[in-house]
């Protein structure tokens, strides 16, 4: 198990290397010249050339890539073209809201979606099942920003229960923090809940047909015990897998959600950086997101052993 964990961690190195190459070259080949943008509309070609040289944009691709990787390994992600702040500092300033949003969404989604799926499977064909499935279709098909604006309109503007937008730091208190995040989390969680609920339902339907469920009933186990212990533990592997894969949805959704609710997080940072063609920032943020995603999936692979004793590494 430990050896496997070490091997898996080592295996993330080539993955991250490829991601790094991709991230770096994607921006290299993207249209638009940051030197021209910085120089502004009035600049002469000479000005642009000078700025390009000062940024190092005129040197060969591989040289720049090697240098970039080396610097990142030393904890230096470069300096923002616009703010002149180190990228790591900018990420540090923005990371808390995004992590808060994602963790809260994750907890909320899992604690809502899994019981929803379980109950839908148990009551297959009933109105509860149909309601859950209907909700899932809705969750899949309505975009995050629509849900976000609708929620903000109802609960913030009309009912005035929650703030419309913004973010309060966690250190300023749990409830103010929660108040600001609850609507964004629900908006962001919609697709995620739909995804997890559907997989939970489908897997549970299959598990509930198994002989060992009949055995549990023959032993006199109660319905809740059968659903949440005997069945759910058997259904856990696909559910946990989809929770991990869904992190990608959350990362993508966070960018939109943060814009809708004016949350000063990494998503907003990414959008701003893209609009300004702030290469070092874009690269830093995308690399960070990729790293988190790889890490989450590693953790999930290792978590399988907790649920299924037949999986041994």
């Amino acid at each position: 198990m430990f050896a496997y964990a070490v091997r898996r961690v080592l295996a993330t190195i080539p993955v991250m290397a490829i991601v790094a190459l991709f991230v770096f070259s994607l921006l290299y080949i993207a249209p638009g010249d940051p030197a021209a943008v910085i120089a502004g509309d009035q600049a002469t070609p000479q000005d642009v050339e000078r700025i390009r040289a000062s940024l190092g944009l005129d040197r060969p691709f591989l040289v720049r890539f090697g240098e970039w990787v080396w610097n990142i390994l030393n904890g230096d992600m470069g300096v923002s073209i616009f703010t002149n702040l180190p990228v790591t500092t900018m990420i540090q300033q923005r990371i808390e809201p995004t992590v808060s949003l994602m963790v809260l969404t994750l907890c909320l989604a899992v604690s809502i979606a899994v019981p929803m799926g379980v109950i839908a499977a148990w009551k297959q064909g009933s109105w509860i099942d149909r309601a859950v499935m209907g909700f899932a279709v809705l969750g899949f098909s309505v975009p995050v920003f629509v849900v976000g604006y609708v929620l903000a309109y109802i609960f913030a503007l009309e009912l005035d229960w929650l703030p419309v937008q913004g973010y309060t730091k966690f250190e300023e208190g749990f409830f103010p923090w929660l108040e600001n995040l609850i609507l964004p989390s629900i908006a962001l969680g919609g697709v995620y809940i739909a995804l997890i609920a559907r997989i939970t339902r489908a897997t549970m339907l299959e598990v509930l047909q198994q002989d060992y469920i009949r055995t549990a009933r023959a032993k006199g186990a109660g319905q809740r015990n059968i659903l949440f212990l005997h069945a759910l533990k058997n259904a856990a592997v696909p559910i946990v897998t989809v929770i991990g894969i869904g992190i990608a949805l959350l990362i993508g959704g966070a960018v939109v959600t943060e814009s809708v609710f004016a949350i000063p997080g990494l998503g907003r940072l990414t959008v701003d950086a893209i609009l300004r063609r702030d290469y070092p920032v874009i690269q830093g943020v995308v690399l960070l997101f990729s790293f988190v995603y790889v890490l989450v999936n590693l953790v999930i692979d290792l978590a399988y052993t907790l649920f299924d004793p037949r999986i041994r590494y």
Binding site: Y212, R214, A218
Partner: protein, 332 residues
């Protein structure tokens, strides 16, 4: 005389299906005395498993519907609430299933699965339940029970798993054990071991057994009384020796005739194995006459039109056939 441990009267288990009602069990009655072993035999689809599942009310309702009465120690199980029924399952009546490979939960360890019934019904703590589980494993003849108790089903062989199932079933000292084809999925040598184990444990625990099987060899081995089922109905019932010696119903005769005899090809008396021609009729339409008429070599117009009642043909020996004579076989 006191009432038997279990009295099943006119049990009807029907399933609603898109193309009509499936009468899987249609008016079956039998009883089991305390400590007795009763076998229910019949070919696949005759309703024997459904009968056993109905006793514990493990049939999903709907689409299933159980009617009639099932009196266990004087209580009608069909009238109990679900929580009352749960207190009986695994405690006073327990069940062993056909598929040891899939009947244990793959993600819970053996100790936990045996301990679960003890925790549910006897309120044992997790630690006491595990200690008792080790004891049960020893009782069913699993070596190194202290280590096995922490293992998972995939680490055990089929025979071992069936032993674990038996341990689960017997953990709470049930008064009645329903064994639904407990040896069908096992090797012949393991089958013999499991049967031996069940017989031995029956004496220690003192439970009555309802044994569901299509294997007449197993019946001869362990049962005291036999109920023969065909197409959802009981067609014959007799003490085991009587049934094997003088089967009254043509179906029972057919079943016994289709048993291969070991060594028959060596002694030069090789004969084609007898079979019962045809298939079990669909249970979806009501059959007015004898359910076996379509396959019976002796069937007449009477058989097709009028259903024969169960009649006592000899002491403690009933059969549902117009022509089953009081002595021996059909008058051909």
């Amino acid at each position: 005389m006191a009432e038997p441990l279990l009295v099943v009267e006119n049990l009807q288990t029907h399933f609603r299906t898109p193309d009509g009602i499936n009468r899987a069990v249609d008016g079956v009655s039998f009883h089991v005395n305390a400590g007795e072993t009763v076998a229910i035999v019949g070919e696949s689809g005759c309703g024997k498993s459904v009968t056993s599942m109905s006793i514990l009310r493990l049939i999903p309702e709907p689409p299933g519907k159980i009617a009639g009465s099932i009196r266990f120690q004087g209580k009608d199980l069909l009238k109990l609430s679900e929580p009352e029924m749960r207190a009986i399952r695994g405690n006073e009546i327990s069940m062993i299933f056909q598929e040891p490979m899939t009947s244990l939960n793959p993600v819970l360890n053996i100790g936990r699965q045996i301990g679960e019934t003890l925790r549910l019904h006897q309120g044992l703590s997790a630690r006491d339940a595990e200690a008792k589980a080790v004891e049960m494993l020893k009782l069913v003849g699993i070596p190194e029970p202290g280590r096995r108790v922490r293992e998972y089903p995939h680490q055990l062989s089929g025979g071992m798993r069936q032993r674990v199932m038996i341990a689960i079933a017997l953990a709470c000292n049930p008064k009645l054990l329903i064994a639904d084809e407990p040896t069908t999925a096992l090797d012949v040598t393991i089958q013999a071991q499991i049967l031996e184990l069940m017989r031995g444990l029956k004496n220690t625990v003192g439970a009555a057994i309802v044994l569901i099987t299509h294997d007449l060899g197993v019946v001869a081995e362990v049962a005291e009384r036999v109920v023969v089922m065909y197409a959802g109905k009981k067609v014959e019932e007799a003490p085991v020796v009587e049934l094997f010696n003088t089967p009254r119903h043509p179906y029972t005769q057919g079943l016994l005739g289709s048993m291969p005899k070991l060594g028959s090809s060596l002694t030069g008396t090789e004969t084609r194995l007898a079979e019962i021609p045809g298939l079990v009729p669909s249970l979806k339409q009501k059959i007015p006459g004898c359910v076996f008429a379509s396959r019976c070599p002796h069937a007449t117009d009477l058989c097709v039109k009028v259903a024969p009642a169960l009649e006592e043909k000899a002491p403690r020996h009933v059969a549902a056939c117009h022509y089953a004579l009081k002595e021996g076989a059909i008058a051909a």
